[in-house]
Structures are given as structure tokens and as C-alpha cells.
Amino acid sequence: MEITVLENRYSDLLNRYTGPGKKIIVSFHGEMDQDRVSMLSYTAEHQMEMLGARRGTIKKIFNILIELLQNVLLHSASPEMGKPFYFVLAENLEDYVAICANVVSNEAAKKIQETLDDIKKMNERQLKNHYLEVLSNDHYSSKGGAGLGLITVALKCNNNFTFNCIPLDDKVSLFEMTSIISDK
């Protein structure tokens, strides 16, 4: 079931970002590992340089991609199936859109939703203060994270993001996050 849902949504996204004023820059559907984080980020960086995007925009997108993809690597919950995910970076009129989705436990999905709901309510200054507050505390996970990744994504896209958690069964959900980055 999980794979079918992922495949269908990935396929819908490819269609959504194809057409006048739209262009798929990099896309991938499959299993996540660290090499894939590097491969997708460097490919995206190179493709954006070829498209003539501004250096600052490329850097922001590189930042966002690393955080989104490493979140998949570190927080996927589907041990019997590996770490399935999909990722799309597309041009949409004057914006760039980065979409990343993976399977997480329902418990993690709830926590991510709460965190992102809180982040979404913050203005830029509050977000920056929250970033410094999290950086100042010393409560890190065994993987070294402290929740800075999602705040970093929000800061880099000026809080212009959306997210969805779609329950797949009573244990896991599909978590999808979309960040919109303006090249203006």
C-alpha cells in the first residue's frame, strides 16, 4: 500500500509541474541513503546553475534540500521496506518548489505536525529567536539533531511552506513537505 501511495503522488507531482511556465529540475523516487542525499543536492545545484538562477537562491535551495533529504535519512520509519521517499525540485513560474515525502511513524507524524504548526505561526524575528534558543540548549538526539533542520528550512524559504500527513495504516503516515523559494 505504501509504495502505491508514494508512486501515485509522485506521478501526480510530475504532471503538476509539467507545462507552460513549469519545469522539473530534479526528481527522484526510490530508497534513501547518504549517497543519494549528496547526489540529489549536487545535481540540483548544478542544474540550477545551468538555468541561470541567482547564487543566493541556489545556496538557499541547497540548504533546504540537504535538510529535507537528511530528515528522510534519519527519521524514516519503514524498516521492513527500507526508506522509500520521493523528491521533486521544480520551477513554477517565478518560484522554485522543493517537495519531499517519506514514511514516518504516526507518533512522529503528530510531533512533526505540532512543530510545523508552531513554526508556521512565527514571524521572521520569532523564527530566528527560536533558532537561537534551540541552538543554545543541549538536548540533542543520538543522531545529533535537535529540531534545527525544520527551523532552517522555514528560515530559508521565508516560512513559505506547506505540509501534509496522510495516514497509511494504524502505524505509519506519509509525511510530505513543500517549500516555495522565490528567485526575486
Binding site: 549528496s38 541552538l135 543520538s142
Partner: protein
């Protein structure tokens, strides 16, 4: 103190901590899968820095990208440096940044606030 060298890869920086050549640098892009494990040898190396009759160590951070998990681990490296200096070591941190990229300088300034350590900012040619 022994030499510590970690080769650069697509996702981790090169680490050179070489007392013989007096060369101390961490340079490149930093987004290893497990940042905590990657920076632990650096923290362990710092534990062996003498705290009396010491020579000055000038450690350069020349990072052109740092992920959020690396931001936390580098903070722990800087916290260790601050503690060693309090004990008597003499470690100066040089924070290199590209003037066309405001992010790296800003991260250095955030470390000064959060860790309470003074960094020497070095503008590098882009």
C-alpha cells in the same frame, strides 16, 4: 598531541590537525550522515591539547556549507575549545567566510553569542 587527518568527501569537510606542521584546518562542505560521530575525533583531539606551557594554536574553519546537525556538532567543538582555553590552553579560532554569502558569517556570529567564544572573522576571496 598526535596528528588528526580526515579526508574530505562529498558530504564531510577535510580535517587537518597537525602539530608538527602547525596546520589546523577544517574546510569544505559539512553535511555528514552522523555529524556527532564525525566531529567526535576532533573533540577527542582537543582533550589532549596541553593546558600549560602551550604554544598558540590557530584553528581555521573554512566551511562553505554547514547543515543543521553539523551546526550543533561544531558548537560542541567550540564549547570544548572555550573550556580548554579556560583551563589554560591558547586556541584561537579563525572563522573564514565568503563576503558574498552572508550565511557563514552569521553562523559564526551566532556561535559567539551562544557559546560565548570570540572568533576571528576572516574574509576570504570568493
Amino acid at each position: 598531541m598526535e596528528k588528526l587527518f580526515i579526508k574530505e568527501s562529498l558530504n564531510n569537510p577535510r580535517v587537518t590537525l597537525d602539530p608538527t606542521k602547525k596546520r589546523y584546518e577544517i574546510s569544505g562542505k559539512s553535511f555528514p550522515e552522523n555529524a556527532k560521530a564525525f566531529y567526535q575525533p576532533v573533540i577527542d583531539w582537543l582533550k589532549d591539547v596541553p593546558v600549560s606551557n602551550t604554544e598558540k594554536i590557530r584553528l581555521s574553519f573554512m566551511l562553505d556549507y554547514i547543515s543543521s546537525s553539523s551546526v550543533i556538532s561544531v558548537k560542541q567543538v567550540l564549547t570544548k575549545i572555550k573550556a580548554k582555553n579556560t583551563e589554560g590552553a591558547d586556541i584561537e579560532v579563525l572563522w573564514h567566510y565568503d563576503p558574498t554569502d552572508p550565511d557563514m558569517k552569521e553562523i559564526g556570529e551566532e556561535y559567539e553569542k551562544v557559546v560565548g567564544i570570540k572568533l576571528q572573522f576572516v574574509e576570504q576571496a570568493s
